[in-house]
């Protein structure tokens, strides 16, 4: 169902009255919104279907306390999805150490600056993204998302605030901490390379 044409206010009212048909239409309408967030933000080992179900259930359970109008329902749903994924990251976080031997040749070349000039930009980009993911795994979930949203996806402060509820100051502090930790992690990786060679 197209988000823009959904009669959210009407569905919202009928769902609050425990109308199963309205509830199903509401869930169907919000499914793509929720799935998009879960797909992007869930921990790699988490099941997208289970998380999506949990988010939709929380949305239905929280409708009684939702004070916005129908048009702000998708944005509210996105925020709930974001929080559920954040909690899932916190629950699962193990912060594994990565050593030089764990890296692929392309990733090692990126760190040493000895990349093959004939390598395609796409290969290099994928290696960079995978390496960055390994390093981001070591951060707190909020720090990880500060980097992903601001640096990788290049979203504006307003967009980030709408998704996460973070103020500009919160975002700045989290980004700063994340960058400091990433730099230390890169230095540590180089130290493991010296030990292994």
């Amino acid at each position: 169902m197209d988000e823009a044409h959904q009669d959210w206010a009407g569905l919202l009212e009928r769902t609050r009255q425990r109308n199963p048909t309205a509830a199903e239409l509401l869930v169907e309408g919000l499914y793509p919104v929720v799935q998009a967030v879960v797909h992007r933000r869930k921990p790699r080992s988490a099941d997208a279907r289970d998380l999506t179900q949990e988010v939709l259930l929380r949305i239905l359970q929280g409708l009684g306390g939702f004070r916005g109008d129908g048009a702000s329902l998708p944005a509210w749903a996105r925020r709930i999805a974001f929080r559920v994924c954040l909690n899932e990251w916190r629950r699962r976080q193990s912060r594994p150490e990565t050593v030089w031997a764990d890296l692929s040749e392309e990733q090692q070349a990126l760190l040493l600056g000895t990349g093959d000039d004939t390598a395609s930009p796409a290969t290099e980009a994928m290696a960079a993204r995978e390496l960055l993911n390994l390093l981001l795994d070591r951060l707190q979930p909020e720090e990880r998302w500060a980097i992903e949203l601001a640096d990788l996806e290049e979203r504006s402060g307003e967009e980030i605030r709408a998704i996460t509820g973070w103020s500009a100051l919160n975002l700045r502090v989290r980004r700063f901490r994340a960058r400091q930790k990433l730099k230390r992690a890169l230095q540590q990786l180089r130290r493991t390379q010296r030990h292994e060679t």
Binding site: R18, P20, H39, A48, R129
Partner: protein
């Protein structure tokens, strides 16, 4: 190591377009939506009892907080006389002991 290695990595990683990764589903799989709504309707009673529990816990926390605050306030007022009485009693007791 290059001084701006992190920025370099981030710049390269940006080129990985979201379309290259597995796309999320635009519609729910069959039976998924009905299962979610069924689960919601079956837990409707639990939501109510949970909300009452939350209200009663909050009420209890507020009541306890007020009680503690009231006790502290009264203790402040009573502290001097209590100290005085205890000091007087101690003096009387000590004076009864044989030297």
């Amino acid at each position: 190591m290059k001084p701006n290695l992190l920025d370099d990595l981030v710049r390269k990683a940006r080129r990985v377009s979201p379309a290259e990764s597995e796309a999320p589903l635009a519609t729910a799989p069959p039976g998924f939506v009905a299962a979610v709504v069924r689960r919601w309707l079956s837990t409707a009673g639990e939501e109510l009892s949970e909300s009452w529990l939350v209200v009663s816990r909050r009420g209890l926390a507020v009541a306890l907080g007020l009680m503690v605050a009231s006790m502290l306030w009264h203790a402040r007022e009573l502290r001097a006389p209590v100290l005085m009485e205890s000091t007087a009693s101690t003096t009387v007791v000590l004076s009864l002991y044989p030297q």
